[in-house]
């Protein structure tokens, strides 16, 4: 199979998962999530010749996604927002409980980015500590400490969702 064919096959199988991960990372910002996925897939294509010969493409793609998410704060400009003539806001993702989703997303958005990434990788993608450390290029101890801090903050935020949301608005 050609390079492009393999890449398209991978994208078709994993784009949805990447987009859901990106939604959590972006704290519910769907545009930002789409930007992150597109950025990650573009970088993945550039390195596809090397990546496809090794196993763990998904891990590599996750790493690109996480790095794109974390690195964006390092830019002094934010280019992902552009003005458009028409309001083109896609429908929010459907879910069983819209209020809970907003609460969780809002709580995630209040976490520092690395803590947010740790939570998403560990509890959404079900990666163990070592795998998260590899993806985030940090030590396992850092993953554990970031996880502990993130969970503590999430408990505080999610246990009192109404109050939190009120203050957020």
């Amino acid at each position: 199979m050609s390079r492009d064919g393999e890449f398209l096959e991978y994208v078709a199988a994993h784009r949805g998962r990447m987009l859901r991960t990106a939604r959590l990372l972006a704290g519910g910002d769907h545009h930002w999530a789409e930007d992150l996925v597109q950025t990650a897939l573009t970088k993945l294509y550039v390195h596809w010749g090397k990546v496809r010969q090794t196993e763990g493409v998904s891990s590599y793609a996750d790493r690109i996604l996480i790095n794109a998410f974390i690195d964006e704060r390092r830019r002094f400009w934010r280019s992902r927002e552009t003005s458009t003539a028409e309001f083109d806001d896609p429908q929010p993702p459907r879910g069983p409980d819209h209020a809970d989703r907003l609460t969780v997303l809002d709580a995630l958005a209040r976490l520092p980015r690395r803590q947010r990434a740790v939570v998403v990788l560990r509890y959404f993608q079900d990666l163990d500590v070592a795998a998260v450390a590899r993806v985030m290029d940090c030590s396992e101890g850092t993953v554990k400490s970031q996880t502990a801090r993130a969970l503590t903050k999430l408990r505080d935020l999610i246990d009192d969702p109404l109050d939190t949301l009120e203050r957020a608005r």
Partner: protein
């Protein structure tokens, strides 16, 4: 944590319907990025090459300069004056006062291990060395029949591998070929005994072949041919050259005859 996983799973929403347009767009973006990356790589490489060439040209000696040459041990150096060569190689002027009736003439090169001067063997008469003027422009050996004279003007070997050809050229060019400068360098000799002419001479680049030319006007000419051909380093009968010396030819010696061979070094131009 199961609860948190469920909450996250719900918050992430459902997987969107993937369309062909999405796939095509992803592929197009990837190709575009790859193309830009390659162009940037080529541009960077070209810039680097241009910069490297520019630096190299700025550091390289000017083309066609006759002043650039190696001055020792095969290393490239800038052109040196005779004075610099004397300093670099420690050339010393041999005192003319010791030249009379001496069996050896020595050119001292401090810092190098000196070869012992070749002395006449037992039963032989040392040729008389006559310095015709104070600047050593001629050394004459006066021989008698059956004498084997080894007039040795010696220079210690300059280092392990000898001097480079270019170093010799520079010495010859800058120190020997000008009558006002030759006094500063007293050459050479010590190793090569030519057939038919008891000449010991190292006045040549390493690897060069000494050739004694037929005498002309009572003088012999000594050439040194460079390895692989090329213009010879001529040691000719020029009395004005400082390193002139007489070469007695055993085959042509006649009793009471003074054989005088004057040789001097000319730079190869």
């Amino acid at each position: 944590m199961t609860n948190l996983k469920n909450l996250l799973d719900e918050a992430a929403g459902s997987e969107p319907q993937l369309t062909d347009a999405d796939l095509t767009a992803d592929l197009t973006r990837g190709r575009r990025s790859l193309r830009r990356r390659r162009i940037a790589g080529i541009a960077t490489a070209a810039t680097g090459t241009v910069a490297a060439v520019g630096v190299a040209l700025s550091l390289a000696p000017s083309v066609g300069s006759t002043d650039t040459a190696a001055a020792g041990d095969g290393q490239q150096t800038v052109t040196k004056t005779c004075g610099q060569l004397r300093t670099d190689y420690g050339l010393k002027v041999t005192e003319s006062s010791v030249a009379h009736e001496m069996a050896e003439i020595k050119l001292e090169l401090p810092g190098f291990v000196a070869k012992p001067a070749v002395r006449p063997r037992d039963g032989q008469t040392v040729g008389t060395i006559t310095v015709t003027n104070s600047v050593w422009d001629m050394v004459t050996f006066t021989d008698k029949p059956t004498f084997t004279t080894k007039g040795t003007v010696q220079v210690p070997p300059p280092g392990e591998h000898g001097w480079s050809d270019e170093a010799w050229r520079q010495v010859a060019r800058n120190c020997l070929d000008r009558s006002n400068a030759v006094a500063s360098v007293k050459l050479v000799a010590s190793g090569k005994q030519l057939p038919g002419a008891k000449l010991w001479c190292d006045l040549k680049p390493a690897g060069w072949t000494p050739v004694v030319r037929p005498p002309a006007n009572g003088q012999y000419r000594l050439d040194f041919l460079p390895p692989g051909g090329g213009a010879p380093l001529v040691v000719s009968a020029d009395a004005k050259r400082v390193n002139s010396f007489t070469i007695p030819s055993a085959a042509k010696l006649n009793s009471g005859t003074q054989h005088r061979f004057t040789a001097s070094c000319h730079p190869v131009r």
